[in-house]
Amino acid sequence: MNKIIPRLLIAGYFSIFIIIIVGLGWAWHTYREAPDQPIAYSHNKHINFVGLECTHCHAYADRALMPGIPPLQTCMECHENVATDRPEIIKLTAYWNKKEPVPWINVNYLPPHVYFTHKRHVKRGFECAECHGDIAHMDKVRQVKSFRMGWCVTCHRANNGPTDCWTCHK
């Protein structure tokens, strides 16, 4: 009987750690989880059902540092007429009518002291999916790689890329 209280205390003490670890795991999961975008745009639908290429919207991926977010006009080329009754498209049309840009939330983030060029990587023949994951099957885009320096360097070493600091650090 008198041993129950200390055992409970010990069990409680350890379960606190377990809760913390589980909690951290969950937090880590949500950190990586896709943010809610102002319009629930689905890459899955546009790529697998409509059949668009990545570069249809991200037109600069092979020409510039950043791939570019399509202007609203590109969306409206189709959605002037297509699926205009859906709630997300009604939101889109509202932005268009106000001539306001959609404030998309950035998913893949690099710090400002990093020089990264999509162009070089695309020209070298890397598929978008190698860093961005299987976006084609994502309804909600999330970050799948860490985008930390170690991850970059591992890939650079494996592919004989430059590893001079000033290749990327600016």
């Binding site: 750690f17 913390i20 670890i21 951290l24 937090a27 880590w28 950190y31 943010p35 600069y60 020409r63 510039a64 540092l65 950043m66 791939p67 570019g68 977010i69 399509p70 202007p71 609203l72 006009q73 932005y95 268009w96 001539k99 306001e100 840009p101 959609v102 404030p103 998309w104 939330i105 950035n106 998913v107 893949n108 983030y109 710090p111 400002p112 002291h113 020089y115 060029t117 162009k119 070089r120 020209k123 970050q143 001079d164 600091c165 000033w166 290749t167 650090h169 600016k170």
Partner: protein, 943 residues
């Protein structure tokens, strides 16, 4: 594993996990797309180039702006982040001066006027709307009154000048002669008398092999300094130019000439007359070009007289005479402080006669390509306005982009009388010093936000286009005038905005294809016929008849000069200009009076002691002194914008304000000010920073514990030619803007914490002055690399001394160990306040607090060139990488390239016999090579 160890590990793991997970940001940054793609496509993360025209000074160089897209207030907008010269423009050929480079900080200046201001009933200037302000002006213009309305502006050319004409004609306003501080009134008057052209011609020096400049600061502010500097550099290479500068004070121009003649103040006329007389005596052809009517009026000057008066040794004067006589293409330029004195006009006439007899006016001096000062008046015109105001005869007075209340003797009355106008409307971009003078102040858009067409010089029209949306609630001057015209006369149809007004003008003048071409090239250079000038014998003779030889100047003389940094004072507001040291003294923020060593000794003055200057009963100024080496004993110097006085006399013959005040009394006050002097010493202290020929080649054999570096493809190298470098500091400004170098302010400068990555070091030793650009030397065996505990400085495979900013922990060991003192520490976070942050170059990180930084040889430009080379699967070609300093250098003194390429320009220059490196004996093997002056850094004999 023990239970205790398990618990310890578990505890540490959870603790550190909790701590590190705090502050993890979710990617909340927004990605803002365009709604409709703009017609100017800017690739994301890259820049595009838009051509326009610099308006910081009256030269109007062609300019191109690097434009990037940034997200501001959830909008994707474009902003210029760097200004460079337009390489095709005939005025500046891709080069920009210190002021042009810094003019980007005028656009982003937080103190720019952002809204119209109007005097309310209580007499206070308060913010108002454009509608109210313009309505008020229109109502005042509509009043039935016998009073005159008047329009006074700074110098305008091209389309704006025409629009002002239209505006004044339509609204019955008198357009006054324009007011420009440095209007070259004396020179223009002399050229009118001599040749019938009241103009400042273009001086083509590129073919000259002997150049004599008297007073004219040809590489600083006089005429077209960029072109003159480039020409001098070109002539040195092509024609072995020998350049002699004659001046009564000390200027950067004088110190850069091959020889400098120190003339006694006010005696230039003796020298010029003597030279003219000797040239005519010596050469019959010269004599034949000068009719007897003129020759007869010239007083005879003996060699003893000229030596006695000018204080120059006769052998030196004869050297100049021989130079002019024997050179195939001699050249003489007269102007600057020597023209801004009582004898200025007479001197300019005699100088013009020398130019005429030697035939310079037939080839090198081009009146067809002259600067257009046709609308510009002089101080007599301002005096007329002041008198008109005095009799209360002015209704609405517009004052646009000028300040009539300046430092000349009429200004005091002008200020008194401005109050008597019914309505004084100021159009400006910054709040004027004396806001009392104005009833309405209209904020002007920056030229980077406006359309315009400017005449750079006669025959060259330059295009001004907006490269960003207006940052504030401002309007361009053209739009203001057109709006007022609309308000006043609704029946007449005219353009509603300046752009459509310009479009109509361009359609009429150039046609459709011409207008398109203009927009593409951003300039039109019309074919100009050379004007073959003829000497106007009667006018010239009349003037020379009354020629009197000036008596010696009395006592101490104060020279009031234009400033390399601030010009006539207009660029002094630029935050970047204040950060950059004056090349002669390395003073950054302060105002000072330059005093000679002997005078300072006599009066027991040291740097920073405040003196008060008076002449007669007039107080001139109270300023700290700075001892200026090489200055003549009784000469003082001050830059015009530093002066707070109405003491500048007006030359009655030309209406130009004098730049000389004589009979100065210096009185030491009790107080002194610690000046912001960046240089530790103006002497090399015998350390041989700039070595003499016999110091070279004494590198010790290097013993090193470290392995040699291997450079497989590139080894970047910079060569700076000291023969070409003129110390103009344009590179410094260019570097600041390109690399987001922090502006730290005076208090930090006083602690020696300036941030410039490249600086000009002046050294006055043994009677000669040297100006050495100093930047990170990218040493092959860099002392900074081996002392860093975290390997933030490292050597890269291309020979660059790299610095990884986010690895740096701020020990500053590297800076301590750097023999060149070129590393800069961020002692504080730089407040890039809005809108200054819009001008940050996204190609470069704005370094945070606690990080060491330095020149990178513009790594972002190297990276860019390598990227394009890789697209074509080749190596970077020679000349493809141009660092910001080299790009803007007016004289092409800086060359950059890959020394491993034996065909590269740097390879050839490094193997020149003039080459040296700074502190070679240290064995650091810098990648920056310098080329000695042609004379081996010894300084030529005078003359």
């Amino acid at each position: 594993m023990q239970r205790r160890d398990f618990l310890k590990i578990l505890g540490i793991a959870t603790g550190s996990g909790v701590i590190t997970s705090c502050g993890v940001k979710k990617g909340a940054e927004k990605l803002i797309p365009h709604v409709i793609p703009p017609n100017i496509e800017i690739l994301p993360g890259l820049y595009t180039i838009m051509k326009t025209t610099c308006t910081e000074c009256p030269v109007h160089c062609g300019m191109q702006a690097k434009i990037v897209e940034k997200v501001v207030n959830d909008r994707r907008m474009r902003f210029p982040v760097k200004l460079d010269g337009n390489p095709d423009h005939p005025v500046n050929h891709g080069k920009m001066c210190i002021r042009g480079q810094a003019s980007l900080t005028r656009l982003y200046h937080p103190d720019r006027l952002q809204q119209p201001l109007m005097r309310d009933d209580a007499g206070k200037l308060t913010e108002t709307t454009w509608d109210d302000a313009l309505q008020k002006i229109a109502a005042e213009l509509a009043k039935q009154t016998p009073k005159k309305h008047a329009f006074l502006s700074g110098r305008t050319t091209g389309a704006m000048s025409n629009l002002i004409d239209n505006f004044c004609k339509q609204l019955n306003i008198e357009r006054l002669p324009e007011y420009e501080v440095y209007s070259y009134a004396t020179l223009r008057e002399a050229n009118r008398i001599l040749f019938g052209h009241a103009d400042l011609p273009t001086y083509n020096i590129d073919n000259a092999n002997y150049l004599l400049t008297i007073g004219a600061d040809v590489i600083e502010t006089f005429g077209n300094p960029l072109q003159q500097a480039a020409h001098i550099s070109e002539a040195k290479e092509k024609a072995h130019l020998h350049w002699v500068h004659c001046e009564p004070h000390v200027s950067l121009t004088g110190l850069q000439a091959h020889a400098r003649l120190n003339i006694l103040p006010g005696t230039e006329l003796y020298l010029l007359l003597y030279l003219l007389q000797e040239l005519i005596k010596d050469n019959r052809q010269y004599a034949a070009r000068l009719p007897m009517e003129i020759r007869g009026t010239l007083p005879s000057i003996t060699s003893t007289l000229v030596r006695e008066k000018t204080g120059i040794d006769i052998s030196q004067i004869d050297g100049v005479f021989k130079g002019l006589r024997e050179a195939q293409h001699p050249m003489l330029i007269f102007g600057g402080v020597s023209a801004q004195q009582e004898t200025g006009l007479a001197c300019a006439i005699v100088a013009g006669l020398i130019q005429w007899v030697t035939g310079m006016t037939d080839n090198a001096i081009d009146f067809a390509q002259s600067a257009n000062f046709a609308n510009v008046g002089n101080l007599d015109d301002l005096d007329k306005l002041a008198r008109l105001l005095q009799v209360k005869n002015v209704g609405v007075l517009f004052i646009s982009k000028t300040n009539p209340v300046d430092k000349h003797q009429f200004a005091y009355y002008m200020r008194e009388n401005l109050k008597s106008a019914d309505l004084v409307v100021g159009m400006t971009d910054f709040l004027p010093e004396q806001t009392d003078d104005y009833d309405i102040i209209l904020p002007l858009s920056h030229p980077l936000e406006s359309w315009d067409e400017i005449e750079s010089r006669r025959g060259i029209s330059s295009y001004v286009q907006p490269v960003l949306e207006p940052l504030h609630d401002t309007l361009p001057e053209g739009d203001i005038l057109l709006k007022l015209m609309q308000l006043r006369s609704s029946s007449k149809t005219s353009a509603t905005d300046y752009k459509s007004w310009l479009d109509t003008r361009w359609q009429q003048q150039l046609g459709k294809s011409g207008a398109d071409e203009f927009a593409k090239t951003a300039f039109i250079a019309k074919q100009t016929m050379r004007i073959s000038v003829q000497l106007q014998v009667r006018n010239t003779g009349n003037l020379l008849q009354n020629l009197t030889l000036p008596p010696a100047t009395n006592g101490t003389v104060l020279f009031v000069t234009p400033s390399l940094k601030a010009f006539d004072g207009r660029s002094d507001v630029l935050p970047l200009i204040k950060e950059i040291p004056d090349p002669l003294t390395t003073i950054t923020f302060d105002s000072w009076i330059a005093i000679s060593e002997a005078q300072a000794k006599k009066l027991k003055l040291k740097d920073g002691d405040i003196v008060s200057l008076t002449t007669g009963d007039k107080a001139i100024s109270t300023l700290p002194v700075k001892i200026q080496p090489m200055l003549t004993v009784n000469v003082l110097m001050v830059q015009r914008h530093m002066l707070d006085t109405f003491a500048l006399a007006v030359n009655p013959a030309t209406g130009e304000s004098n730049g000389v005040i004589d009979n100065i009394k210096i009185e030491k006050t009790a107080s002194s000010l610690k000046l912001a002097i960046m240089s530790g010493s103006l002497s090399q202290q015998g350390r041989g920073v700039i070595p003499r020929p016999d110091h070279r080649g004494h590198a010790h054999e290097r013993v090193s514990l470290y392995k040699d570096h291997i450079h497989p493809d590139y080894q970047w190298t910079m060569v700076i030619d000291m023969e070409k470098c003129i110390g103009c500091s344009a590179c410094v400004a260019s570097c600041y803007v390109e690399n987001n170098v922090g502006l730290v302010g005076r208090s930090e400068h006083m602690k020696g914490r300036e941030m410039s990555w490249i600086r000009i070091e002046p050294y006055y030793d043994d009677g000669y002055a040297h100006f050495q650009p100093m930047l990170c030397q990218h040493c092959e065996f860099a002392p900074c690399e081996s002392v860093c505990p975290v390997y933030a400085p490292y050597h890269n495979p291309e020979g660059l001394n790299g610095q990884v900013y986010n690895r740096c922990i701020g020990t500053r060991y590297c800076s301590n160990n750097c023999p060149y003192k070129v590393r800069r520490f961020n002692w504080q976070a730089h407040p890039w306040t809005t809108p200054m942050d819009r001008g940050l170059n996204p190609q470069m990180w704005a370094r945070p607090k606690g990080v060491m930084e330095k020149c990178t040889f513009c790594i972002q430009r190297i990276r860019e060139a390598k990227d394009y080379a890789k697209d074509e699967d080749r190596k970077v070609r020679d000349g493809e990488v141009v660092p910001a300093c080299a790009q803007t250098c007016p004289t092409n003194a800086i060359t950059f390239g890959n020394i491993l390429d034996e065909n590269s320009k740097v390879y050839q220059l490094v193997h020149s016999d003039r080459v040296y490196r700074v502190h070679e004996h240290l064995g650091t093997e810098p990648s920056v090579y310098y080329l000695m002056k042609e004379d081996g850094n010894l300084g030529k004999e005078h003359g």
